[in-house]
Amino acid sequence: MSRFLSLAVLVAAWAITAAVAQSRLLPGPLAVGATTLSELRSGELPFQMACTLGRVIGSFAIAMILGSMAGYAMGRSKALDRFADSWLVVLINMPALVVIIFAYIWIGLNETAAILAVAINKLPNVIVVMREGTRALDPEIDEMATAFQFTALKKIRHVVIPQLAPYLAASSRSGLSIVWKIVLVVELLGRPNGVGFVLGSAFSLFDMAKILSYAICFIALMLVIEGLLVQPLERRANRWRRRLA
């Protein structure tokens, strides 16, 4: 309820400011709503959003899978951690834009370059979180698994992943938001479709209503994904915790 109220206040403030400013540069909620509706009807908005969403999913999956594996390996092996830590520091501090430019120059202006560039931007963050999670694994449980000769697969599935679940959830949450922001930049710089491309062309026309309507729709989509996918998965992984107390 309070969340609904705070959103309503935000929209009201926007409407009042727009009414006072009376500027082409700040359209009110109604104008943006009308633009959104016509974009929806023409099929333009769903198409562009689908393009972007595809890239988000692709790079997110690559970053999560590679990052989890690398983070796990670094958390388990001190030698590997010492060796790869400086690479990680370089990767963390590499500006997103630099990665994107390199990817487009070396791989070409294509989908592979776009998705890889985003994945590499997200990768170090996943590695850091998963490394932390791996370091926190319970050594006593590991010993138990060794004593009872758990196979590698059994150990990953029943011992490691359940303990890493909170870390996986944390890095997918922060990951999803980082990834979609960078996907827009990648599209702006070198793709002929997607929300980032639309925003770029709207910017050159100073079409503020279009910029706002695409931005708001995409934020809404990400919130829906978070609420319908990430949170239920998290609840499922934490089933055993809720019955405590």
Binding site: I141, E143, M144, A147, F150, H158, Q163, W240, R241
Partner: protein
């Protein structure tokens, strides 16, 4: 036959000093018998058990396990997977070829029937310890190692668990090594007692108890315990003189 010879075992402490835990320990346990390792706390009992389990291979000596070497282990803490149910915890320990065995009887003896679908966090310590015991027996082990599995339980619960352990080890005739600091507990359960010295530890006294184990009443346990204490005092005095 379970054979364990530890010539030397030491580890590096936090400040980089080598601490010697075990020196010249030699332990042999007949297949099918129940041995108890008794020693003061901090003397390295858990270290010895870890080496016996094959979890710690960083020592000088030799280890030979009975049968095919399939191990059942009960740790001091239950060490259950908090995110799996009681039944999953037991079944996960099983080798693939035994994955679907019937657990009804084992679970019945340990009184776990009503708790199979619960998560470990919902169990009392006594019940969690029972699950750990069930898991160790479910794998049909060639040898069984127990590390003070009944500490910090109230006496009544500990006693019930001892009786259940007695029943299970008698039935399965599994070679068992049981670590404890409680002499009466050891006398009640074991065929053979091994007394450990202070650090660096070794066996200072070894005694075979007359059968049948499990039938010893309170008085018999007390009498044997007194006798053992006297022997132990002699052995310790002998060490001090030598």
């Amino acid at each position: 036959m379970l054979e364990l010879r530890i010539d030397a075992k030491s580890y590096l402490s936090a400040d980089g000093m080598a601490v010697e835990v075990v020196r010249g320990l030699d332990l042999r346990l007949e297949t099918g018998s129940f041995g108890a390792l008794i020693g003061p706390s901090g003397c390295g009992k858990t270290t010895i058990l870890k080496i016996a389990a094959g979890l710690d291979t960083d020592f000088r000596g030799e280890r030979r396990t009975p049968g095919s070497g399939r191990l059942g282990m009960v740790f001091q803490e239950p060490r259950l997977l908090a995110w799996r149910t009681v039944e999953q915890n037991i079944r996960l320990a099983l080798a693939p070829d035994r994955a679907d065995i019937d657990l009804t009887e084992l679970v019945g003896i340990l009184g776990l029937g009503a708790h199979l679908a619960r998560y470990p966090g919902e169990l009392s310590l006594g019940l969690a310890r029972r699950v750990a015991v069930a898991r160790a027996f479910a794998v049909d082990p060639d040898f069984l190692l127990l590390d003070e599995p009944f500490v910090s339980l109230d006496e009544a619960t500990a006693d019930r668990l001892r009786n259940e352990l007695m029943a299970l080890t008698t039935r399965t005739e599994v070679t068992t090594l049981f670590v404890t600091h409680d002499l009466a507990e050891a006398v009640q359960l074991a065929d053979r007692l091994f007394f450990l010295a202070e650090r660096p530890t070794r066996i200072i006294l070894e005694r075979q108890l007359p059968p049948p184990r499990g039938m010893r009443g309170k008085d018999a346990v007390a009498a044997i315990s007194d006798e053992m204490r006297a022997l132990l005092a002699q052995a310790t005095a002998g060490v001090d003189k030598g």
